[in-house]
């Protein structure tokens, strides 16, 4: 025990004991505070215990054969991830997952069985970055760098192969029809290819506070879902049927993109929301969010600690659920903006406030221009995404040149805007010092206080995320 978390067993027992104790006190005294503390402590110790057990179970196979060249068979379980100088795959050996670095030109697809001759290594630490933990969240405990690779068996996965071939076709069309920067941008927002994003663009994204737009996530999915849902409704389907079909499409979309963590999360959330719509329950965003997070952590507890994407999107959405109503109340009356515009503004600010400590801790860059930049980018991005999905769909069959003529300038416009706003000295503050846990706690405690006080005063029911309001609206009117 204790390989990844270094949790002392006695602490774990102490927490479990204290948790049980306050739980019992609650049973006798019926004080809500004791229930809260009990559930919190039990959840914490159970989570840590589960993380340990799961890690130990998975991390058992190849231990003895390290630092010696061995030959083994492995199945590719990821898509090719192209980096500047090499390509990466995740392969599975029995139950173990191994990170494979190969030549840039190497082309394998999901499900291929490879014969690999090389040396298994435990991922090394890069500077102060916990690379081991970072990979462990994806169940990867070994890596093998530039081994000899032979293709033993072509992938039998028909659906995934079809998706792969289609994507390859779309990628080639994108490269051919858009300028270099636009192509990289478009590939990242509609196909989730992030490896090609260069240092300069990455820094501009981070300084302008728009890094989130190049990771396929809820934002992209909601555009996709609204298209389909809206399309089905206008085609005359019942709401319930449309929801079911939309969920199927969302899952197909996730398969098509290749199960990126952020996307799976978003599909999961969206499906829960759609299901609650089918069941006719009034949808309460923050509860659905907590259920989703709970279920995902049961499957993989390491996400909580090592997946920045998980932390960010969970906090961002939570922030939107909890803070947006406050800003709606404060800004809504004064600004007199149309609903869509003020929604974009309040969504951006809420998400940024809630994710601020995580961003500063992980990236050391705090964007000052983010609310303004996001306001404009989010205004136009849904159109670009919609056009992009449509273009990609057509590009699987023909070359939609005229659509590219509209899409190209829009992409360029967004890119120029991001480059421009990320280029000022005052666009962002670089924070090099580590921030202490104490500040973290103070920050969120303060936020919690504000939210609780506000809820006391206004006792309003919180409105869900702006983009999902379409559905809420549907529900209210019928």
């Amino acid at each position: 025990m204790g390989l990844w978390f270094n949790v002392d067993l006695s602490w774990l027992l102490l927490f479990t004991g204290l948790g049980l104790l306050s739980f019992f006190i609650y049973i006798f005294k019926r004080k809500f505070l004791f229930l809260l503390v009990g559930v919190f402590l039990l959840a914490m110790s159970m989570g840590a215990w589960w993380a340990e057990v799961r890690t130990d179970k998975l991390n058992s196979l190849y231990g003895k054969e390290l630092s010696k060249e061995i030959e083994f068979e492995a199945r590719v379980v990821s898509e090719k991830e192209t980096r500047a100088k090499y390509s990466r795959y995740v392969v599975e050996v029995g139950d173990d997952r191994v990170l494979l670095s190969a030549d840039k030109g190497a082309i394998y697809k999901y499900g291929d069985v490879l014969t690999i001759t090389g040396t298994l290594e435990i991922p090394s630490e890069i500077d102060d970055f916990d690379y081991q933990g970072y990979l462990a969240k994806d169940d990867i405990y070994y890596q093998v760098r530039f081994p000899q690779i032979g293709l033993k068996e072509d992938s039998p996965e028909k659906l995934i192969n079809f998706a792969y071939n289609t994507k390859t076709k779309i990628r080639k069309r994108i490269t051919r029809n858009f300028s270099e920067k636009e192509a990289i941008f478009l590939k990242s927002i509609i196909l989730g290819d992030k490896g090609l994003i260069g240092e300069e663009f990455r820094s501009k994204l981070s300084r302008s506070g728009t890094s989130h737009i190049v990771a396929i996530s809820g934002l992209h999915l909601s555009v996709f879902a609204i298209f389909i849902f809206g399309g089905l409704l206008s085609a005359g389907l019942w709401r319930k049927h449309a929801s079911v079909v939309t969920i199927i499409f969302l899952i197909l979309f996730a398969i098509f993109i290749g199960f990126k963590a952020s996307l799976v999360r978003a599909v999961f959330m969206a499906s829960l929301m759609l299901i609650s719509l089918i069941l006719g329950k009034i949808f309460q965003g923050e509860k659905v969010l907590v259920y989703a997070a709970f279920l995902m952590l049961v499957f993989n507890p390491l996400l909580l600690r090592y997946d920045v994407g998980f932390q960010m999107s969970f906090l961002a959405v939570l922030g939107i659920f909890l803070l947006k109503p406050i800003f709606d109340h404060i800004l809504g009356k004064k600004l007199k903006l149309p609903q869509i515009l003020s929604d974009i503004l309040t969504v951006t600010i809420s998400a940024q406030i809630f994710t601020l400590p995580i961003i500063v801790y992980n990236f050391g860059t705090f964007s000052l221009v983010a609310p303004v930049v996001n306001f404009f980018v989010l205004l136009i991005l849904p159109f670009v995404l919609g056009l992009g999905f449509l273009w990609a769909l057509l590009a699987a069959f023909i070359n939609p040149y005229f659509l590219a003529l509209i899409l190209g300038p829009l992409l360029r416009g967004i890119l120029n805007f991001i480059y421009w706003t990320g280029s000022f000295k005052w666009s962002a503050i670089e924070i090099t010092d580590n921030i202490s846990l104490f500040l973290f706690i103070i920050y969120y405690a303060f936020l919690a206080l504000v939210i609780i006080l506000w809820k006391r005063y206004y006792k309003k029911h919180l409105t869900p995320l702006a983009l999902w309001q379409v559905w809420q609206y549907e529900k209210d009117t019928i």
Binding site: R176, S179, L410
Partner: protein, 284 residues
């Protein structure tokens, strides 16, 4: 009420689109009939873009490929994703590397090369790209003339015959050499030719005279023989080079060019030459 923001957004989108459309009109792809030759600053390497102002481009070499797409993006309007002809003078990496990217990101109608084979990864990649894409492949030889839309012509001066089955390790000395002729204006583009190839050209009796000479082999001391320079007798010389460990351009060469207007991509960046066939303008 619900429709107002939607209308605003559509208007914004249209205004932005309008801006881009007009911008590309002012970008200069306006069919004025002028010939533009741009020696692209692609670092240590060669890349020359020829534009006839009617939307036709010829690209000669592509540098190593670090920034070729960025450069093309700068000089081609966004809707023009076709380069009519790409010519590879010889298969060295500082000429070939960038063409790999160009062949992936642009539609190319015709690809011209000498047929010389090289045992290198980049050459293999080129061949597989050529196989994959449906484009016309031409093996260059003397006498071929490529016509541009405004009447400019690119004459192939060397090699005399197809080099398809020829084997050599001295690729520079078997560069494709072309002369761009537009009315009274002539530009000689000798690839990486060194003394041996220059001597062969001098002996062949071909008319080498030109108003503009791209200096051979990035200004190497083993290129641009005084006799060759005398024969060409240019008014303008262009050296395409970047940071390198070979000492290009060499002081000897720069010395020979003292009396000629000499432009260098390593100090001046992209060099744009514009001509109507009589007068020549350099720079913007």
């Amino acid at each position: 009420m619900k429709k107002t923001p939607f209308r605003i957004i559509i208007s914004i989108v249209l205004i932005i689109l309008n801006f881009f459309v007009w911008q590309s009109v002012f970008d200069g792809n306006d069919g004025n009939g002028l010939l533009k030759i741009i020696f692209l600053d692609v670092g240590q390497g060669d890349s020359i873009l020829i534009d006839d102002s009617f939307g036709n481009q010829v690209l000669i070499d592509g540098g190593t490929g670090e920034n070729i797409l960025e450069k093309l993006d700068k000089y081609l309007p966004f809707y023009d994703r076709t380069i009519e002809m790409v010519l590879l003078t010889h298969p060295d990496y500082d000429h070939l590397g960038g063409l790999l990217k160009v062949l992936e990101s642009y539609s190319v109608d015709t690809f011209v090369y000498s047929g010389l084979k090289k045992d290198s990864n980049s050459y293999e990649a080129l061949i597989s790209l050529l196989d994959e894409n449906e484009l016309e492949i031409t093996i260059a030889k003397q006498g071929q003339i490529i016509e541009l839309g405004n009447g400019a012509k690119l004459h192939v001066l060397y090699p005399e015959d197809s080099l398809e089955n020829f084997e050599t390790e001295k690729f520079n000395e078997y560069s494709i050499i072309t002369k761009l002729v537009f009315d009274d204006f002539e530009a000689l583009l000798p690839g990486d030719a060194g003394f041996p190839l220059e001597v062969r050209l001098l002996n062949s009796g071909i008319d080498l005279s030109a108003d503009l000479l791209k200096i051979g082999h990035h200004g190497s001391r083993y290129s641009t023989h005084s006799l060759f320079l005398m024969k060409v007798d240019p008014d303008v010389a262009v050296i395409s080079s970047g940071e390198n460990s070979f000492g290009h351009p060499h002081p000897d060469v720069l010395g020979k060019l003292e009396d000629i207007l000499t432009l260098r991509t390593d100090t001046e960046g992209d060099i744009e030459v514009l001509t109507d066939g009589k007068k020549v303008w350099i720079g913007d």
